[in-house]
């Protein structure tokens, strides 16, 4: 088992936590799971407010009680991808959003706010809070 600095790219932010890597597995303490997923591990499952999702997969935790991040993502029905970096002391994982969660946001119709950077590299929230009509244009160099 190797200690790694783990960067997790979620749908709305990027968080770095400590983890242990063993083969393809990334093992996290409960507090780190909470930090990277927003779901807090409790005896009844992964919880957010009053809602708890049970973790039925016995392999989701190791004998020390650490959580396997891939199996946590699976319990939350979220897509997951991960990679160890060349120097072995770092790893990166991406945890996406389930299709039905995404569809619910689209159906709700409220414009989500997303934190991006502007041309100077400064943080900018899109869309702004101007209470006017706004047009978002997605463009690219490609």
């Amino acid at each position: 088992m190797t200690p790694v600095e783990l960067t997790v790219l979620s749908t709305d932010e990027t968080v770095t936590v400590g983890a242990l890597a063993e083969d393809d597995r990334l093992l996290l303490e409960a507090s780190a799971v909470h930090a990277v997923t927003g779901w807090e591990p409790k005896p009844e499952g992964l919880c957010r407010g009053d809602l708890c999702i049970p973790v039925r997969d016995p392999a989701a935790r190791d004998h020390e009680g650490r959580y396997d991040l891939a199996r946590v993502a699976a319990a939350l029905h979220r897509p997951y991808a991960a990679e160890r970096l060349d120097d072995e002391s770092r790893a990166v994982a991406a945890i996406g959003e389930a299709a039905h969660e995404r569809a619910a946001v689209y159906n709700d119709g409220t414009a989500p706010r997303v934190d991006l950077i502007d041309l100077d590299g400064n943080p900018i929230t899109v869309p702004d809070h101007s209470r006017r009509k706004r047009l978002l244009l997605a463009w690219s160099s490609w």
């Binding site: 970096l85 991406a94 996406g96 159906n107 414009a111 997605a138």
Partner: protein, 201 residues
């Protein structure tokens, strides 16, 4: 707001500087992780989303070329959505969006499939790896992402520069053919061509 689905500020800066007329009232942001693209269901560019005074998405992403330079490919007359946009801004009237023909509500972004969501997740990881010099690992995840969501152009075409492919050459034409054979998904034009522009627009 003009949000670029590109890997770095250095890539987009020359485009912003070359804008004619200059971008004076438009703010530019970079979305290298495609977080905004996913939040609004954007699968190609140039796409626009309309948001009203109450923070409601009143028109989901649709393809809206700025002019008719590439109309041969887009088959979209820019005058149509420009007229529809003016009408919404001045009169508050929204266009009636054409049915997608797949049973989904044309007034909200098309719900993604599980494969597309996994593809977006793989692309987000791939792009991060690419930006952090992990080229080989990035390629594995880009390939997986494109396999999962081949007709999401923000994934398939958007990853071409990072993968050493040409987004304006044969790689593009192959993708274009595949997409055309699939019935040109996610490309419903905003109607409005028959709406005369508002006199004060």
């Amino acid at each position: 707001m003009a949000v670029a689905l590109d890997d770095s500020l250095d890539v987009i800066r020359p485009w912003v500087e070359a804008a004619d007329p200059p971008l004076t009232s438009v703010r530019v942001a970079l979305d290298a992780d495609h977080r905004l693209a996913e939040a609004y269901g954007i699968t190609n560019v140039p796409a626009t989303v309309w948001i009203d005074e109450d923070d409601k998405v009143v028109k989901p992403p649709t393809i809206t070329p700025g002019n008719n330079m590439f109309q041969e490919f887009t088959k979209i007359d820019a005058e149509g959505h420009h007229a529809a946009l003016r009408r919404w801004v001045h009169e508050g009237v929204l266009p009636e969006l054409p049915d997608r023909g797949d049973g989904t509500d044309a007034n909200v972004a098309r719900p993604p499939t599980a494969e597309e969501q996994t593809g977006r997740t793989e692309r987000r990881l791939a792009s991060w790896l690419h930006r952090n010099g992990q080229t080989e690992a990035a390629e594995r995840h880009y390939a997986r992402a494109v396999q999962l969501a081949p007709l999401d152009w923000t994934i398939s075409r958007g990853s071409m520069p990072a993968r050493g492919q040409d987004p304006f050459g044969n790689d593009f034409f192959d993708l274009y053919q595949e997409w055309e054979d699939a019935g040109r998904p996610d490309y419903q034009a905003v109607p409005g061509g028959d709406v005369p522009p508002s006199p004060d627009a």
